[in-house]
């Protein structure tokens, strides 16, 4: 994994020059990942970038002493690199040396002109830098996340230094320990001072915890000097732990937030009590209330009303929960929802997932359920009229479990208006469709406003049962004689404004267009027929019933095409590294 940190390093730049205060891990035995082994493995593939070894060495003495691991960097070199000039302070600091990338956020303790108040303290810290070492192959988003972590820790340290000179005290402890050890045991291995520092210094222990937490859980929650809270996480790591193979970057979560609508619901990824217990003690009471009330049947809008929060606040809390991997986004469970096995689902019967499933639901087999969902099924279709209430609730529990583990994906129906005119180079059409194509009846043509009729001969489908076609095209281009219904067609210009001329014309040629009730509804909804809104969204936005909507689509089926795929807000959680 490229997400894990290789090391964390604290460097100060003081009145006595730069100094490395603490680094973790310091012992070669603790070295986690970047050993020689992974290095040679990388070289096996012919596509990896050549490293320093594969170029023939000339005999001049410029061989590098720095090899692939952070441990090969002497402390003095690191402190020299990271104790940056004041011009670089307060900004992102990134440097890559061979295969290791270092990222930090150096800060000046006192700004220029802002004098240090006491002259009693001779050893003052000018600037400091908390640096994380990563593999160079780590993605840009991961590097940015580490920068954020470094920035937060630095901000907390900066505050505590200015408040009670915390950093100065800790730095003094660390340097004196280092000096003691080097004066007593000059020949001893390098790791001894760090071991002692770890025993003596709170800050060193905190940094070790940061390193270990990032390595194991991806979440950091600690108080610097038991006072300033630093709480952040690496979403990539959290989602990777939930489901190995799931690749979720912060950008995906932002994309999901963009697509989030009030009709969506949240589905907690764990047990409700467990999620609440994992929250810090002083977390927002609104968040706790939200988690307590969360229900896969409730839309965010209902949830906001129930929890007595504004919708925008709920959205913020949901964003937070997504970032920390507490929840996922679904469309509220209801009978008409259509589910199908997700393309990214792990279908091996020997997987951990299958074991976890059989632990939770002993009576059923995951593979069996998965095969039942191999074709899209709606919940109402799955309902067994003879089932007992217990069986029914277990059925729902199974679906929730599968949604939590991203095994099922919901299909939504989208509607797109397509008329033939999009590509005017058309000649005759396939014979089989003539039966299905628009029949232009005499009456509807008569009611059509004349300006729309111009050029209709191009798209109009002549059919032998059609009287008008016998009348021939000249009759069409001449203004229709009856204009009795013309006053009833204001929608043709106002509400159909989102359609192109050709589309508007095709709409008016559909049989159902003669029915003003249908036409009114169509005019109201036509802006959603661009393949961007699924049926549920249209129902939500325009407050129409599903049956009315389906009826309308059926009546206008000659110009409307439906297709099914997943909702974009939910689909980001199905990204898989293998696909």
């Amino acid at each position: 994994m490229d997400i894990n940190p290789l090391a964390v390093i604290l460097v100060e730049n003081g009145s006595k020059g730069d100094r490395l205060l603490f680094r973790f891990p310091y012992d070669t035995q603790v070295t986690p990942s970047y050993s020689k082994r992974t290095r040679t493995k990388q070289l096996q593939t012919p596509y990896s970038q050549g490293s320093a070894e594969d170029m023939p060495k000339t005999n001049i003495a410029y061989s590098s002493t720095i090899s692939g691991s952070v441990h090969s960097f002497p402390s003095k070199v690191l402190s020299n690199l990271f104790a940056v000039k004041s011009e670089l302070c307060g900004k992102k600091f990134e440097i890559k040396i061979n295969d290791i990338r270092f990222v930090g956020h150096p800060l000046l303790v006192y700004h220029q002109g802002e004098g240090k108040c006491s002259s009693s303290n001779q050893e003052s810290i000018l600037s400091f830098n908390v640096v994380f070492a990563l593999k160079a192959s780590a993605s840009h988003a991961v590097v940015d996340c580490y920068h954020e972590v470094s920035k937060r820790i630095a901000a907390a340290l900066w505050h505590e230094e200015r408040r009670v000179a915390y950093l100065s005290a800790e730095a003094k402890l660390m340097t004196s320990t280092q000096d003691d050890v080097s004066s007593e045991l000059p020949d001893d291995p390098l790791d001894v001072p760090y071991h002692l520092i770890l025993q003596r210094s709170q800050l060193a222990r905190d940094l070790r915890r940061v390193y270990e937490d990032l390595q194991t859980s991806g979440k950091i929650h600690l108080r610097i000097n038991q006072w300033i809270l630093v709480s952040c996480c690496l979403p990539q790591k959290i989602y990777n732990l939930l489901d190995p193979g799931l690749v979720i970057e912060p950008a995906d979560i932002h994309a999901c937030m963009e697509a989030l609508r009030p009709y969506h619901a949240i589905l907690l990824l764990g047990d409700k009590e467990k999620v609440i217990n994992n929250l810090p003690l002083d977390s927002s009471p609104a968040l706790k209330r939200l988690i307590n009330l969360a229900n896969p049947l409730k839309s965010l809008q209902t949830l906001a009303a129930d929890a007595d929060l504004t919708l925008s606040h709920v959205f913020q809390l949901v964003g937070h929960m997504l970032y920390f991997g507490h929840a996922t986004i679904i469309y509220p469970l209801c009978d008409s929802n259509v589910y199908v096995l997700a393309g990214s689902a792990n279908t091996s019967p020997q997987s951990k997932l299958a074991d976890a499933f059989s632990e939770t639901f002993s009576s059923t087999c995951l593979i069996q359920i998965m095969s039942e969902f191999s074709v899209p099924v709606s919940l109402s279709q799955r309902r067994n009229p003879l089932a007992t209430p217990e069986q029914e609730s277990e059925e729902i529990q199974i679906i929730i479990w599968m949604l939590q583990h991203h095994l099922l994906i919901q299909l939504h129906t989208y509607v797109q208006i397509v008329v033939d005119d999009m590509h005017p180079r058309l000649f005759n059409r396939g014979s089989f469709r003539s039966a299905k194509t628009t029949r232009v009846t005499f009456a509807s043509r008569q009611s059509t406003p004349d300006e729309l009729n111009a050029g209709s001969s191009l798209i109009r489908m002549p059919s032998d049962s059609d009287m008008a076609s016998v009348v021939s095209d000249e009759a069409l281009s001449s203004p229709p004689s009856h204009k009795s219904i013309n006053s009833k067609a204001p929608w043709s210009n106002i509400h159909l404004a989102s359609l192109s001329n050709a589309e508007r014309e095709a709409v008016l040629q559909v049989d159902a267009a003669a029915n003003s009730e249908d036409m009114d509804l169509f005019a109201r909804l036509c802006k959603y027929f661009r393949g961007k809104h699924h049926l549920e969204e249209i129902m939500y936005l325009e407050n129409v019933r599903r049956s009315n909507l389906l009826h309308l689509i059926d009546k206008f089926r000659t110009i409307l095409v439906t297709f099914e795929h997943e909702d974009s807000a939910c689909s980001v959680f199905y990204k898989n590294s293998t696909t």
């Binding site: 279908t347 590509h423 961007k532 297709f563």
Partner: protein, 381 residues
């Protein structure tokens, strides 16, 4: 894009400084002073590729040190750096920077190139040439005196995915057979058999090349973006629309490209509506055979094979594969059933395509066997 190239060195009296820079003053004195510790670093970091990204510049360098008593401080340190924008990728320049630095070392050791003023004066011209040539063609040939140096920027792409027997390689864009000289002998032998219809195992047999070699060739072609892998086309295949399908009617370039690609003849392109309706018809439970019966693509002037190929290449549709899973019912029979070789293949990870390729069975043979076996579950995903 390389914004600038500079040559910096450790001056015996003035310390780190930029001696030559093209274009001049791209990296200001202030910025250089702030980062000079990374350009002329401590001894331990010599001969390391160092990329520092601060103050809006991304600077890639390779500091070198030549120790010799003839120099004022018994050593010469220099670093030839490429400067890019802070959000640019610079991995592809690293090897170029190193090669250049090592070449300069050779020149200095053999000809005292950097120690003689008249030679040094050539540097700005050389740097300018390198910058413009690498930016424009990605290649550069530098001649200094009698020595010649060839530089090439090699784009570092992600590692290509593994190639399996049942994959079908297809050329991504119009592939010119004239450029065949570019490839190695085996690839040249394989190339004529890549037609977007034959799968890897078949290409290997037709080209009479070992399948392992064919896979390696195709993986190499994948790396250079010449081919893409798609599933085998069969009338029993199922496809499903992806969210990208909605872009098709919106994006006029894409829809025009689609129509010309799927047309049976160039002179009579199909109507967009028909093409779009066929894509929309692709869903779970609908095979291409069903779709052909429903729409009769021949009459619509649509080549269904090209239609599927375009959809998969553009990500408009995705294949829904069939995965058989062996799931013995332990309760039913007391005796443990013998696991057949077919059962061993039904792991839930191998699709029908893979099993067919491995066993040499046809789709229907396999389907019949699996249908008849009550212990095998079938998943579509």
């Amino acid at each position: 894009m390389i914004q600038a190239i500079f040559f910096s060195e450790f001056h015996p009296t003035l310390g780190p400084k930029i001696s030559y820079q093209v274009p001049e003053d791209y990296v200001s004195k202030e910025i250089f002073d702030a980062v000079s510790v990374y350009i002329i670093p401590k001894e331990q970091l010599d001969s390391c590729i160092i990329t520092v990204n601060v103050l809006g510049h991304k600077i890639t360098g390779y500091p070198v040190r030549i120790s010799d008593e003839k120099y004022p401080r018994n050593f010469l340190i220099f670093n030839l750096c490429f400067v890019c924008d802070s959000d640019a990728r610079t991995v592809q320049y690293e090897l170029v920077v190193r090669k250049l630095a090592e070449h300069l070392v050779t020149l200095e050791v053999e000809q005292n190139f950097l120690s003689t003023e008249s030679n040094r004066a050539l540097l700005p011209k050389i740097l300018g040439q390198i910058r413009s040539d690498l930016n424009h063609c990605g290649l550069c040939t530098v001649t200094v005196g009698t020595s010649t140096l060839h530089l090439k920027v090699i784009q570092v792409a992600a590692e290509p995915p593994p190639v399996f027997d049942h994959h079908v390689p297809v050329f991504t864009s119009e592939f010119s057979p004239l450029k065949q000289d570019y490839w190695d002998l085996t690839t040249k032998q394989v190339l004529p058999y890549i037609d977007g219809r034959s799968h890897v195992a078949r290409v290997a047999i037709e080209a009479d090349v070992d399948i392992g070699l064919v896979k390696a060739c195709i993986q190499n072609l994948l790396y250079y973006g010449v081919v893409q892998l798609i599933p085998i086309f069969q009338y029993s295949n199922m496809y499903a629309a992806t969210p990208k399908l909605r872009e098709l009617p919106m994006n006029s370039d894409l829809s025009r490209e689609c129509i010309t690609f799927v047309a049976k003849s160039d002179r009579h392109p199909p109507s967009f509506r028909d093409v779009f309706q066929m894509y929309c018809g692709m869903t779970y439970g609908t095979t291409i055979r069903d779709l052909c019966l429903r729409f009769n693509p021949h009459a619509l002037r649509i080549d269904e094979h090209r239609l599927v190929q375009f959809g998969v290449l553009q990500g408009i549709i995705r294949r829904i594969c069939k995965y058989p899973v062996y799931k013995p019912e332990t309760q039913r029979g007391s005796h443990k059933k013998q696991m057949t070789s077919l059962h061993a293949l039904c792991t839930g990870v191998a699709s029908y395509d893979e099993i067919c390729c491995r066993t040499g069975m046809s789709y229907h043979e396999l389907d019949e066997k699996i249908e008849a076996d009550a212990d095998i579950c079938v998943l579509w995903k």
